[in-house]
Amino acid sequence: MDVAQLKPVVEAIIFASDGPVTPKMLKNFIDESNGVDFEKVIEALNDDYQSSGRAIQIVRVAGGYQMTTRPEFATWIRKMYMGRTSNRLSRAALETLAIIAFKQPISKAEVAAIRGVNSDGVIKNLLERRLITISGRGEGIGRPLLYSTTPEFLQYFGINDISDLPKPREIEELFGEGKYVDQIIEALSSGDASEEPQEDNHQESETQNDA
């Protein structure tokens, strides 16, 4: 089958599914889809929706495809779901998730060390919301439980993969490596920090983030 023939079949499967449908699943369901690039099929479907002004779209999330409404219709749907909308995560929860996402697998104690504050309650909450899971035990004293993010985490933030998250700025960018070491040592020893080089560095890292 070519893209045009596959389009309605793929559309039907994604429509009828209650979660993201991975390309592998599509391949299993559609015998005649050997060697097909499903990404092209999804693109063609999204083009159709766009050009005919439909309210739906297919997004790439947690390694699969899922049908959602377009963001501009949220106002009305929110009214329909009044009282049943999911709560936003607290800042503590977001910080903890950011640390776990980039340092996984990681223990409670390591999370607390970075945040400078006890994080047991937050972690328990995130476990209950299934945004993180226990993924093993560490080597350290007491073999502490280690935590990692889940596919639900990817779904919650609407991303396909952990690598889609904004990268934390490298600490070395600001501190501890390369030419900046000299500037920092100079600043610390003279007691008079040199402003400009740091400014440069700051901007540089911000543009990297935007990219």
Partner: protein, 246 residues
Amino acid sequence: MIYRVQLENFEGPLDLLLYLIKKNEVDLFNIPISEITRQYLEYIEIIQMLDLEGASDFILMAATLIRIKAKMLLPKPPVDMDEEEEEDPREELVRRLLEYQRFKEVAIKMADYESQRQLLYTRRYFDQHMEPEPQDWWDPKTSYTLFDLMWAFKEILQKAPKVTQHSVEQIPVTIDDQIGYILRQLDQNEGQLLFYELLEKLKKRIIMIVTFLSLLELIRRGEVEVTQSSTFGEIWVRRKRWTSLN
């Protein structure tokens, strides 16, 4: 002087410290420790009044700040040419602040992702559908853990009828009874069942709990195995050697 800031806005001592540094427009690499410490102590006085438990993290940081200041005040030993220059006592603190700052920045961006995602609505309220049987019980890709099993159990318990009237009665149920129950159920269903099917017929929560413990015991003994047909799927329970034991 006390800044008019809501204390609960601070996620912890590092967060408060970063705020004070920003507020005073001081350079992260040249923190005036005594001034920042003074302001910091003003805050934790209030925090202590409000929330004793959380305050301990803040007090620890205050102690760290004071220790750094003390270290900076002490006369330095004459510098030995062979030895490396002694580390500025503030360096470790700066490192921690920066490490925290990185993730704080990411968390702020993640909140944007969250709001963007919450504008998209997926289809929901699906009818209960046929759960596909797992094709490979030992597929390492299925991310099934004990926690998944506990979670499924919690969901079933939540669906169980709530008893508002309370009376004390002895419910004669043992792990051995329920092991027998599980194995009978499995045998009547060709050796495999969905986890919730196993529990949904039980009416009393205590029996559900004992049955769950029995299931864990059977898994431990290796008589029963458990898997998930997909990452978001239901949990299946299967009799491991059910033909040979019949």
